[in-house]
Symmetry: D2
């Protein structure tokens, strides 16, 4: 199953083609809409004021409610666009956005309106594609759930219980510890008021994957497959499996996961490896954390250059922006993880 | 350029086939041997006592000293093997090794001697392949260098100057700050004496990549390409670009990299993005850090299970092992980075 | 550049996503419309009576008339559908159609209306994609042209002159020898009147490709690349390069192409190899012929089985069908060839 | 399962790496040796006088006689080389060989001795890889067999009976009709005596593939997959499925395969489609024919150019050559077909 996401923030439509979806899946469009709603900007002041219906229109690959096995095309019309906001920034790239790198790559031919193809808006079709993947996984009793693990240095507590995590994942502000969640929200509002933004992290769990999938080799190892999907999500700058960066502070005795027999199954007492040994699933839940950079769009004046004149200039980014993308990215990370899990399993 | 690494730790040979190497590269075999020597276990008590010549034999793709453009095959004969050491562990997987996951994946058909195809020994052909990649990059004035950034919580100082880093990379114990290096070595020896092991991290820089390579999309974005190569290195459990996991503690004002003009070129004043925006190179050095878990092979007794009887058992791993793989992994990470950079550039 | 064609004959729309189109191509939409018109059913009684506007709607990847380098999505709305015609055939597969094989593959979930995703209608987006490829090739002074080389055993004369071929390719019934073309048309009308259909062949030339692209190896050889694109065109059952099947009747002295120097360039006096030696372009035009089977949809009664009851049944195919697809397939084969040439060149 | 063939005709060794072989296959090395013997030059004067042991050395991926699921590397040492024969032709490409195209592609860096990587000798590892594929298919009750269908215009009769074909495939000169075989042998000897060569064709059958594998789409359709493997065999210039090029002479009534029920299974009465409809297997045997060009190496004087001076020159090819490759290519085509069938089935 391969996906191609297409579209520009201010073009007529965005969408995704999923090639290789197995035939016969009865697509649950309500589940898809729910995941899209989790990604949609809330009315809580934590997100952009841009409002999009994000209604998915399926134009191929579905017949009588079921997938046909032919390419599945999901299209979302664009609507609430303020393209005028962007004309000013056409020649003056926003720091830490894709503007400059994309300008060079496209030899000046990018659709610069609203970030074009680089816009976080393109994560809507990714969530839709991820919903298809989640539904395929559900048939194998595999589920994906995640929570905000950090915003601006404020940490949620670690995940312990399956049901608790799935419950947290569906909250409007998906954290395990709501008090910490309140602190995080305040940090976001503070940043917003300061015309600034904040970064954070998301912890995600894929449970139910059987042992024995993957390989140590390039192109087949499970960490490599997951990371390729995860880094394709805008703003993700680090991916860490199990104890992750913490391994650098550990001894083998602390890091190793002892085996035991539980319910006649081989399991490990701890899961520092995040469910993967030697690039292969070991039957424990896959656990990883992604770090997301602060939104580069901030309203404060910033230093840029004019690509026409080669002169240094100061710019101010107008328009509607998210002071933090982490809370909206939760279903996006789940979508990427679900697509990765499908590749690992060969679904 | 695609690579396939083959071989088992105790089989007749290990090696790599590189498909798609451009024709006409005058291969510097001494440079390759130097990189392999950096990976070889030292005589300083920090590494395994296994001794291998690691002499590369080129059996295809090279003619009159130059690459022909046809598949390039590099083979290293195995020699100093103590297979007897491993028979005892055939049915009792070592915690946090690939043994159990690989057993399930291969339906019991793995070569269990010395870790088989999962052995760190397989990083020798990776280093050889990486040397070819480095030589291709050198023709484009791109270089790769790295240093140990952490061992068991002891941090080297951050990289600042190009020449200093390249100099550090070629040290026997590659750190910027030798005093910190001494502390790290002591931590490794302490772990060894305690029959334990330690983890750490490596920071790597790829400098000279022009702006405009990559894309935001799945399969083309630079972070995704690099991470796929990096996670194919055994023991790597986290990959972090630029400020990486630190982004989760930052505001946009701290994280954004302001533009400026320097020597008539657009550059950024800081490089928190690690040289990549929107999945595309921005012309600044690519900077990333990988975290490596502590060697799972420790001599202390550990809890395992007997895969024949399904009973819990205690095991002791005999044989020669590295108490830390980080210092030997420095050229391995460079090799993976060089191969990734070649893919990004389409070399 | 990779393409994914999506859609079903009687779904809301069909289309194609082209991923990897270079940025900055000023897309000539009129040229695209012309190629689509060449594929459209004529009013001459040789084709189906289904009428489609085939208007291409570009929903991503184009900005200010130029490609942006991001996925280019071309959509064609469906309109003139008579779905009722097909209900009768839902459970009784049409001989030599994809119905039965597709039914098994999709576990009964195909969109059976009008051939669904298997319909020849899906060649419309392929022609649109091919037009993009042709425009990329034109910038390199490479062009693609083809003619009907056979219909029901009536052969057009062989291609000799560049200008003559390009002229023939743009005729309503694209042959070099119009008298032969008239015979072919009569054979098609005869078949139509007999409620039958006829097969044929198309010869195609890609001229201007420089020498030195491709490789002998799997996945890189030029014949292999072209054939993969060509066999993806419905009804193509044979692909033959240069002297092709004729080689089986030849000696080396007849088959070999002697070298000579012409205008200071190395060329061959003959081109039996069809421009490819050892899987690599040799600078001569790439010449190949594809054979297309007779349309399996014929109005005569045919033997089928009922997939519900497992009984043998006789069926009659209603609806509008082409008694021959060869003349309409000329721009389709050119499209496939143009996409293949782009892959060979790495465009 | 992906394969990479490496090596040069006069290098130290040739071989193949097979990545993705399922674990647990008990490799039958005798069967592999038998297929290699079928490819080896005979002592009947029909083939080159070069003698090679073609002993396969397995250096990875096999343990205790079974595949481990890790890359399987098969190496064949080179021995009976007369490199001196080739020095004369270094700068004067042999007509219709890969010499010139390869010279341009490699910017003059090819190993020109004995055809280097372009040599027919490289089909030995392909046969070895194909033997692995055949053994995987045999577990699914799928077999591959082929016969010479034509040499220099002399046609073997068409395949009808399964057992007869498998029997013919194992003959020293694999034809169904031995009288025709004798004529073919004479045609080869005549060509040899005239210092010339002849072309021919091979018909191949893959029987036992279940219905429902493949897709109409690019990259997934069965004809496209097979053709990519087949055109990677040197000298193959045409690939034709089922009635193949004959379709161009047929009406739908002749070409269509009527359905019937046999032994409670849906089958077709004829198999003009060669087992594939709409790019998907239909459960009937896959039948195809490949055309192989006459060996370009002929001893008669030929016209070439000197790549150093740009002058036209006459050359004479010395050394040992096959006056016809068709009879030796029979197991090679089977190997390519077996690898293709494995890809189609996802083995």
């Amino acid at each position: 199953m391969k996906y191609t996401i297409f579209g520009e923030s201010h073009g007529p439509a965005i969408g995704v083609v999923l090639d290789g979806v197995p035939a016969g899946l009865e697509l649950d469009l309500e589940a898809m809409a729910k995941d899209l709603a989790r990604r949609a900007p809330g009315k809580d002041g934590l997100s952009t004021a841009r409002r999009e219906a994000d209604k998915v229109n399926i134009i191929s690959g579905l017949f009588a409610g079921k997938t046909t096995g032919t390419p599945l095309t999901l299209v979302i019309q664009n609507s609430d666009q303020h393209s005028g906001d962007y004309e000013a920034l056409r020649w003056t790239p926003r720091p830490s956005h894709g503007d400059y790198a994309g300008f060079i790559q496209s030899k000046g031919n990018l659709d610069y309106r609203g970030g074009g193809h680089f816009s976080g808006r393109l994560t809507a079709p990714l969530v839709a594609a991820g919903s298809v993947a989640k539904q395929l996984l559900a048939r194998e009793n595999i589920w994906v759930a995640s929570h905000i693990s950090a915003v601006y240095g404020i940490l949620d507590r670690a995940w312990e219980d399956v049901e608790e995590l799935r419950c947290a994942a569906s909250k409007p502000f998906p954290v395990l510890d709501d008090a910490k969640g309140e602190e995080m929200r305040q940090a976001i509002l503070d940043a917003k008021n300061a015309l600034d933004s904040v970064g954070g992290a998301i912890e995600c769990v894929v449970a139910g994957l059987p042992a024995g999938f993957g390989a140590p080799d390039f192109g087949r190892n499970v960490e490599g497959i997951f990371s390729q999907y995860l880094f394709a999500v805008p703003a993700v700058k680090a991916v860490s499996f199990g104890a992750g960066v913490g391994f650098s502070y550990m001894r083998g005795t602390e890091a190793n996961d002892p085996f035991e027999i539980k319910d006649c199954k081989v399991v490990t007492k701890t899961n520092h490896a995040g469910g993967i040994n030697g690039g292969i699933t070991n039957g424990m839940p896959i656990v990883f954390e992604v770090t997301m950079r602060p939104t580069p769009s901030i309203a404060l004046p910033q230093e840029s250059v004019d690509l026409r004149t080669g002169e240094e200039v100061e710019i101010e980014i107008k328009g509607r922006h998210d002071p933090c993308v982490v809370h909206r990215a939760v279903p996006v990370i789940e979508a990427a993880a679900a697509l990765a899990a499908c590749e690992v399993l060969g679904l």
